[in-house]
């Protein structure tokens, strides 16, 4: 492929190509959104969704020193998984009320919303602490409904975050080496790209699909 020179990030020798690739969107987006979120060391930061983005967001948040809470949907051994990734607490959003659980912790300073659902993002807003911020990185056509008094009285806010520039990518790779953050990947040869794409779209991938070319 052809790329302009300003689009390039240098890959550290400690990372393989398979390890580096998924950090270029899922990795940089979670890392860069978290480091620019305004959360400080020790703050409660909730990672909403345990998927391709979420499993990296949990690791980055924990390594950045946040009191990391993972909110998932009780899929196979999810609690054990997120705790191994660094979460201090797991909330099963099917059997528990995530808003109540977050409020028991004083509310979240930041909720990193990876789930591509406007309805789910609407329902989680009540879990924000005073000055809390919902950071939207999961794309959905479905609108988010925002109660005005919740936002006004607690100075709460919503922002979106798009990945970053090439130097942000390079920072993501460097921090991943420094902290040991890695994507969990399912690897497919290039010839099986259509199958990998369908697997990713089905939501069943654990957690990122990566194509290899043999180069």
């Amino acid at each position: 492929m052809i790329a302009p020179n300003e689009a390039l990030a240098s890959i550290p020798e400690q990372l393989s190509a398979i390890e580096a690739a998924p950090l270029m969107c899922a990795g940089i987006t979670t890392y860069n959104a978290l480091r620019n979120s305004g959360a400080r060391v020790g703050d409660v930061v909730a990672i909403f969704g345990v998927g391709g983005l979420g499993h990296l967001g949990i690791q980055f948040a924990a390594k950045m020193g946040f009191n990391t809470v993972a909110i998932g949907r009780a899929r196979d051994k999810e609690e054990e998984l997120v705790k191994n990734l660094g979460a201090r607490q797991y909330i099963d959003n099917r059997s528990q009320n995530a808003v109540e659980e977050l409020n028991k912790l004083g509310g979240a300073r930041v909720i990193l919303a990876t789930v591509p659902s406007g309805k789910a993002m609407t329902e989680i807003l009540g879990g924000l602490a005073v000055n809390g911020k919902l950071v939207i990185i999961g794309g959905s056509d479905e609108p988010i409904q925002v109660p005005s008094f919740l936002m006004i009285l607690g100075r709460r806010s919503l922002i979106g975050w798009p990945s970053g520039t090439s130097i942000d990518s390079q920072d993501t790779l460097s921090f991943s080496v420094l902290s040991g953050v890695r994507s969990m990947n399912e690897v497919f040869p290039l010839e099986r790209a259509a199958e990998a794409y369908d697997h990713m779209m089905s939501g069943k991938a654990r957690f990122r699909c990566v194509l290899t070319t043999g180069n």
Binding site: M1, A7, A17, I18, L23, L190, A194, V210, L211, T213
Partner: protein, 121 residues
Amino acid sequence: MRSVQVSKANGPLEIVERDIPEPGATQVRIKVQACGVCHSDSFTKEGLFPGIQYPRVPGHEIAGVIDKVGKDITQWEPRQRVAVGWHGGHCGHCESCRRGDLLVNTHRYQVLHTMVAMQII
């Protein structure tokens, strides 16, 4: 080179052979080793970018090795390992670039400005 291509909006991902491109003066050519498959590749596959043109090779989680550099490239050289994401370049002279905001620019939906669908060698 082998590529995975989409020929039309909502078309299938097809394996095709494409000519190996030559890098321009300020570009590099990368031999791709790995490419992540991301939910936002659906924007490319389903034609959700306004003005997107086909055929198109999706992919924006790319890792590989530089195999050729353009004549004006001084800071990169062949055999260096590099990765590329959504930031597919910037012009340097639009209002957003002049404000130092290289990613979220006034040409937000001009796919080729910062969001380039990438090719796999």
